[in-house]
């Protein structure tokens, strides 16, 4: 009696396990072979030695790119006898055609991410780079310039602070002008009386108004300075040197404002005269002629000052790229 061949509980057990085992071995072997291939175990390379003053951020296995494509990698790095770093780059022979005799090699570092070694070839028609050649690695480092840049920005900010501080020239000047105009306003009626006619008085008043407008513009200028300060704060990388020029311009403003002050002082004196005159009415008629002559001269002087300041403001507007159009018009 023969043993009945019962169907096994698992169908094709051997086949299934065999398939699994063979595929595992194939996958593992394929994986190992591919990673060997990927590491360049199967293609020939030529070496290139790059000499750099320092190699911070460079590591073994780092790629060297050409036009953004990796064409080789750092195989070895050592510190030479002369204190310079020698980087040995392995380049697959098929990629070596991108490198020529006159190729330039740079090491670039950025704030985020690692360093990058780049190869640049200007003329692909040159002789190909010989195997085992040695070249200098040019380092350009954006991060190294940052401290220098910050120093410069600091100086600029100090200047701005000096200009806008409480004791600064520009503020003192503006304070003076305010004093003068403070004294001038509110004396219209007296002037009219003193000058004997509304027309002459109007001339003086107009001149004063012009001075006022000028002051408003100057206030605008100081506001602009404030704005520039804010902008300089937020954008430290603005074009350099603008501030120095602005400083010079403001020195000029100081000069011109000095002139204006002189003119206004004269007006002040005149008004003082007028005040004393009002007390002594009979003397007025005698003085009126002289007063009008003074008035004409004064008007010319003030006009001149306004013109100068107007010109100056235009010039400053031209130099400060972020200023708005400001115009002082003569009535």
């Amino acid at each position: 009696m023969n043993r009945p061949t019962s169907t096994p509980p698992i169908k094709n057990l051997e086949l299934k396990v065999g398939v699994l085992l063979v595929s595992t071995v194939l996958l593992a072997a394929g994986f190992v072979l591919y990673s060997l291939y990927a590491r360049g175990a199967f293609h020939r390379t030529q070496s290139l030695t790059l000499i750099a003053p320092e190699a911070e951020g460079v590591s073994i296995g780092m790629p060297m790119t050409f036009s953004g494509f990796p064409i080789g990698e750092v195989k070895r790095m050592e510190l030479g006898e002369d204190g310079k770093v020698r980087l040995e780059i392995a380049i697959p022979t098929k990629d070596a055609r991108w490198l020529r005799e006159n190729s330039v090699f740079t090491l670039e570092k950025s704030l985020v991410g690692g360093a990058k070694i780049k190869a640049h070839t200007a003329n692909l028609a040159d002789k190909p780079l010989a195997a085992g050649a040695a070249r200098t690695l040019i380092t350009g480092d954006a991060t190294q310039e940052i401290p220098v840049l910050i120093e410069r920005v600091k100086t600029i900010l100090n200047n701005v602070a000096d200009m806008t501080g409480k004791e600064s020239h520009i503020n003192q000047t503006l304070a003076n002008i305010q004093n003068v105009t403070g004294r001038m306003t509110g004396e219209y009626g007296v002037m009219e009386g003193v000058l004997g006619g509304p027309e002459k008085a109007h001339q003086v008043v107009a001149a004063l108004e012009k001075a006022n407008t000028l002051l408003a513009s100057l206030n605008g200028v100081s506001l602009k300075v404030d704005g520039v300060l804010a902008k300089t704060d937020s954008r430290v990388f603005g074009p350099e040197g603008v501030m120095d020029q602005a400083h010079q311009s403001i020195a000029k403003v100081n000069g011109i404002l000095g002139d204006a002050r002189e003119s206004l002082k004269k007006a002040d004196a005149l008004l003082a005269n007028a005040q004393s005159a009002s007390a002594d009415l009979p003397k007025i008629t005698g003085n009126v002629r002289a007063a009008t002559a003074d008035m004409t001269q004064l008007r010319t002087e003030i006009d001149d000052s306004v013109r100068k300041v107007n010109h100056l403001i235009n010039e400053m507007n031209k130099k400060w790229p972020f200023a708005r159009e400001v115009e002082i018009t003569t009535p």
């Binding site: 009696m1 023969n2 043993r3 019962s6």
Partner: protein, 155 residues
């Protein structure tokens, strides 16, 4: 002294079991639960003599047929009757052809059978595969045995 002698005998028996000289058929030696009766029996020649599964299974099948229990060959331990389980255990011992087979306390192997006639009939059928088979039983079970076939060892 008796204790020491018993102990020595026990040790000797253990060693013999370990060497494969004595095969035990015992309620404390269960079948492998996840294998069928046939596979349980075939396992022994697979190990002892490195037979292929088919060769070992053929041997086991032969024994099952001789014993008349071929119908139970696909069953696993929990599905077996007491008799079937006892036969499977016996055949597992027989297939290794040990010098001695000990059937330990058969009353526990076959609780609902008048076991001495059953066992001796079975052993009769398997006689050509057996070297020496002994039955170990309690003294109080002796009346169950036929005078021609007394149990070998009385405890």
């Amino acid at each position: 002294m008796a204790d020491a002698a018993q102990h020595l005998a026990f040790m000797a028996a253990q060693t013999a079991v370990a060497r494969g000289e004595i095969a035990l058929v015992s309620p404390e030696m269960p079948l492998r639960a996840n294998l069928s009766v046939l596979d349980n029996i075939a396992l022994i020649p697979q190990y002892r003599t490195n037979l292929t599964y088919d060769e070992a299974a053929d041997q086991a099948w032969g024994l099952l047929v001789t014993a008349g229990y071929q119908d139970s060959h696909t069953k696993r331990d929990p599905d077996l009757s007491h008799a079937e389980r006892c036969v499977a255990k016996l055949l597992r011992a027989v297939i290794g052809q040990p010098p001695i087979i000990l059937i330990d306390r058969p009353a526990m192997l076959l609780p609902d059978t008048h076991y001495p006639p059953f066992l001796f009939a079975l052993l009769e059928k398997l006689a050509e595969h057996l070297n020496n088979c002994e039955i170990v039983d309690y003294q109080w079970n002796q009346p169950l045995y036929d005078a021609r076939h007394p149990p070998s060892i009385i405890e």
